[in-house]
Subunit: 359 residues, 5 copies
């Protein structure tokens, strides 16, 4: 059981490291703003949520259970229960996973719950202790900041996928191999995964930003709408990456077919050139007693000449029917053309700067 | 005709093994909670339902008929008629089938009906006799427990399919054969089957949890919503397995094409090397009288040397154009990357523990 | 012009074989229940409908016109005009066609119209004359019986398609040929056809069973809902057959590719074995004067031995790289697994028994 | 500028060939019914529409502009502006194009506008001058007749496509070539084209037939509903043709693969038979001094006999493993089966007769 | 920071090149119409928007941020915030990008914002200075002109894509190569890109043209409806181009398969002809002492004759089984047929003329 609690008292002071009793007292005061962040949730945490804070046991169970829960919003009257998913991407270990975050929003409290450490929640903790204006705007705004950070944190992953797509495109043209195919299929599955994680969240954000939930103030709606727009943007970029993966797959398959074609052509050319020559040699290797050519003193050289003529003729035929392309440039007459999205620009430090600009 | 009846009398005692008359009396009392579970339904059961309990004959017919009925909810005013489907998976015999469960929910009774024995219904029976609090919460809650157990019982099947997907992925890369393809197609069809069984149930659960049905109490709605969420989760996991099957299919087809490519390459290389040599041997096997080379004492060895040069040259050419790859590692420069869901965690004993935790 | 009329007089007697005048009189009485079944509709019938019964000429035209009309429901106030489609399957001649049935439902009359003889309408005629309770329940119930029989009559076709799917699956594995492919494509097209015929009918039945049409009594709604459920079931079974056809197609294509692979492998193996041997023979067939091996007395046998070594070596190489599989069993390590629907059970005599059970 | 105007005066006389002043007077009288048909629209026509009749300039611009406009309905209060598309199919020149028709419906006027001559509009002109009852039923009915004729005129094209589909199916089985593929793809694109032209028109007709537009009388709604049904029917037939094209494509690709298989098999058989024989001949063509067989007087014939045995053995092996099929019938055990729509019946003269029947 | 401001004073004069103070004053006067166009937006511009004009900081941030934002409309009460996307196509440099335009519409002001120079905005600037009637119609009309120009500017790109599709179709038939495939895939991706850019804009335009936004006057709705229709038309043309790309892809793949077929056939023909001949030559090259044919004086010529017969026989066989097609025309019996849209007509100068015609 690991939890961290922040309490903005009605006097405007932020207290950290609250004990369970202080949490209970802050919660019951119905004043100020209490934020509890629980990670590595245990049964004990479930009890705190259920008995300590009086939250519904089904919601508490969703927090404790190690299973994946689809994004959703449940309105329990006194509080909202929201499940959202982000992408947890640890650059060092290259582990990329979808990560679940459960949030309770009440009139004077926010409870966030996650089973693995989330970079975005840590960032919000940092911001909260640095600048108390964040918690003064109320529970709905604090919840927005947490969700927004989680969603924005998907962008580096999208960015990374875009890089991978570029590497794949290059390798597909330069030197396609079985591992290239596997990378294409992995990338495609990643886009599917992100689509399935993000699409239901749009519904959740849409429901919040439409208004009608008394716990979300009117002026906060536009912020949740903004998260919705970010999700639409992520979906759009994700879709673009999926198109690139599909194209890479087509190019891969076509270049495999092309290479097989090359192999077959080589075989056919070799056979077409050498079989007649071997026959010719075979004919003059026959042991008939009466073979006048064998006695001609220039017969041997005539046969060699004939062989040369056959070779040149065959090669010319292949060249004419475009099986071989010596000295010909493989040109396309199609004018270059493609509609692309504006260059995706993503500053490394941007994530950290965004919340400052927002306040 | 096999039925088992449980009656929680208004005094709070649970009676088992009721006779038809006792059932009738309990039903007519409009008090307490009566649960009748009918399996291997016969025409006689249909009569009990229709005449004994006064249920609509179309619904009774759906119970008696051995045909499959799509998931649905019919509101007959005094009672609801719900059809849901589960997956019946007997580990010993490896028979995996979709199983239909029909449930009537009245104000003081629940009738469950199924044509094959269902593990989940047996589990509820066990719980009911062990702990009478279950039936005290009313007909809607009892029905929820039965449906929830049925739906949760799909998870081991999903889990099993996930294992099969892993075995398939491994075999597709290691040693793809025709049986691998059949396994892939079977797995894909299973995911389609589960999708088609689960998707309409979401609609049914959604309709119940939206409220508006007087027989389902307000506080029970969140429980049906929870079943809805489980169905969404099952769909999501199922979808992921389907993606894996699709990828495995692509990998399989590509590796079949690759192997064909290898075969063709071998053929082309063999022909390209041996045909010129055979021609050379054929030329010096000709019987012309005037063939000066034949008289040179080192002619034979010169020809053998020439043959060696042709072989080495051809092999170098093949190596340079990457047909053969001696000493070259097949490398991809693409950085490893994939977004995956959080590890699916499923405890063996979890199913049994869930209802306890819920009360 | 072929029509057959049944009139249940207010006194409860059923009259058959009414003349046009009797029909007119029964129709105008606004009492009892008049059922006119018109087959092989002519312009004359159109006149009867339009002038005799005062039905709208667009609806009458739809009956007369030999064109196909999509399933629909038109509410003309005094009467409903419904078009539904069934499958007419004559077992003897193996002709399977979609068949159109147009029905007018008024307060005291039902007019059914079809251009080809329908087995299901004949069955209802039989039932009506046998048991007058059928017509006593009113026009909406009579129309339900006719539509229900038509829809249920699709089941034998689905059943037949299921058999064909099984034959196809067997042949696809045992001995796939071009006719197998044609059968697969035909089956797939049949499922598409049935989907397109059944899907819009669900809409029509849904609209009726939702209530709001004054000509359909409240207690009849559940019966139309039942037809809707049958359509959902038919769609589900049809979908399952389509999946099987898709899988069979994949298996077919893969086994064609496999066979091509086998052919190529045979060719490559033959060439790889015989080309070096032929070269060897060719070398010792050269006519150089100075070829020391030719003079060795055991030279010939040494060459034969060398040839044997080459053959054995090549075969071992092919075996090691799994091109040939002597003595190896083609095994898959994937555990057998598939989710299937409950066995589709359909009794031959069931169709005839259904209406009896329903009354 | 080419326009033709018809005016049904309140006295019931039809005037043709009106001058611009007469049109203006008729239009301003707010009585009778004025129909103006404009083809090859110029800027001058745009002025007539905009200034003469006071229609909105955006609608007038849509008429003048040579661009394609999607089907739509705009309600300008005093008049409706409808854009519908038909198929213009000139049998002589084999030019098949989608053709746009713009219609204004006011209380006492109809303006139809099209940039290319439309057969269906000409037919309505003919009907109007022949029988004045057509215009007496009002502007909404006249507009219906024009639209209905336009939509019905799509049927011959569908009919033609159905014929082409049949030719394609035959040729795909008999003798598939590259032009066959091109015809398949062309046909498929045509069905897509028709789908995209017809689908949005359904929306337009649905909106009109739902009622709520004051300019369309209640009793005219069923007629627009009828046009809607025709569009559904066209879509259904179009869909069926598309399925046939898809099937033909599958059959084509499979038969191309089959033919390649045949080629490969021939090659493999030839190589497998002749390579061992050539080796045998090569062996006995070696020049070793000590080759005992060469001296046997029956050696030559023994080798010939051995060659014969090899040939027979190889052929038997090929026959046993089904590579060659002499004397074997290629049979399928699958029982013939396919669900097809009722035969599409279309009489050549029907189009002309339809409007008569309708009055 | 680059901005350009136009102010139509209440007296009807247009002032250009306003300073920040003049802008502020014009904005605060709540009279006249102020248009500010900001390009290459900086943080400073964000401040002007947020503090100078009091616009919401989330919207201002969307303008400043270099990220892509999906098309949307946000109603902030006093003003609307609209994001639309166009295609920026610079003919000289062949750079084709989607370009974002953000527009604020207030009662007396319009703010347009874009990060790259837009041809369409420049065109509106030109029109505004030339003819002051444009700004007199109000903010909603000015915004319409800007959006309409942006959307219409997509047409040349569509036109260009149509040309590229034609080139691709030609090259696919004439001489398909790997670059052709790449061009096909690029074109297809471009159509997907345009679809994804245009589809959400339809939603935005639909929402505006449905009415209900107080800042858009009733008489302006039809203009936004017109933009909606343009978007539908663009989608339709785009879809058509996508179909052509799909067909080209099919043709390409089929022609690659055909060429491989040709290669295989050549190989099989060569092998089938030469292998028997080589065997024949090999047989008579054997060194058996007792080979009677070798002594026949016409033996050699008989063998040559036999070889000729084998060649002729093989060629006849190939001709009969249609492997070779000398003297045969590759004919299809399918009658030519295709439904095509009306010729897309686009005048070079049209774009410039459109707004004049509109006023």
């Amino acid at each position: 059981m690991t939890y961290q609690a922040y309490y903005l008292s009605p006097e405007g002071r932020i207290n950290q490291n609250l004990s369970r009793e202080e949490i209970k007292r802050a919660y019951d005061s119905k004043e100020g703003l209490l934020w509890i962040d629980i990670s590595e949730t245990t049964e004990e945490d479930g009890e705190l949520l259920e008995q300590g804070l009086g939250l519904h046991h089904l919601a508490a169970e969703d927090c404790v259970s190690p299973l994946i829960h689809p994004p959703k919003i449940d309105d329990f009257g006194d509080y909202l229960f929201i499940v959202v998913h982000g992408i947890n991407h640890t650059a060092e270990t290259e582990i990329v996973e979808t990560a679940e975050l459960a949030i309770f929003i009440g009139s004077n409290f926010v409870v966030s719950n996650h089973n693995c450490p989330l970079y975005s929640v840590e960032a919000v903790k940092h911001l909260v202790t640095e600048d108390d204006r964040l918690m003064r705007r109320g529970a709905d705004f604090l919840a927005y900041i947490i969700i927004d950070m989680l969603i924005d944190n998907v962008m580096p992953t999208i960015d990374r996928m875009s890089d991978v797509a570029e590497e794949i495109e290059e390798e597909t043209i330069r030197n396609p191999q079985q591992p290239t195919l596997e990378a294409i299929l992995k990338l495609k599955r990643s886009t599917l995964r992100i689509h399935r994680v993000m699409a239901p969240q749009r519904e959740v954000m849409n429901r919040i930003s439409r208004g009608g939930l008394p716990l979300i103030k009117q002026e906060a709606l536009i912020y949740y709408r903004d998260v919705y727009d970010h999700l639409v943007r992520i979906e759009d970029l994700n879709q673009t990456i999926r198109d690139r993966a599909d194209n890479a797959l087509n190019t891969y398959l076509s270049s495999v077919a092309n290479r097989q074609n090359e192999v077959m052509k080589t075989l056919a050319i070799v056979a077409t050139i050498f079989m007649p020559l071997t026959l010719l040699a075979g004919i003059y290797g026959m042991n008939f007693e009466n073979m006048p050519e064998l006695k001609w003193s220039w017969g041997y050289f005539a046969v060699l000449g004939l062989m040369g003529i056959v070779v040149v003729g065959a090669l010319w035929k292949f060249w004419a029917s475009r099986w071989v392309t010596w000295g010909r440039r493989r040109v396309t007459r199609i004018r270059p053309f493609a509609v692309e999205p504006e260059k995706l620009i993503w500053y490394v430090g941007q994530l950290a700067r965004l919340p400052h600009r927002r306040r």
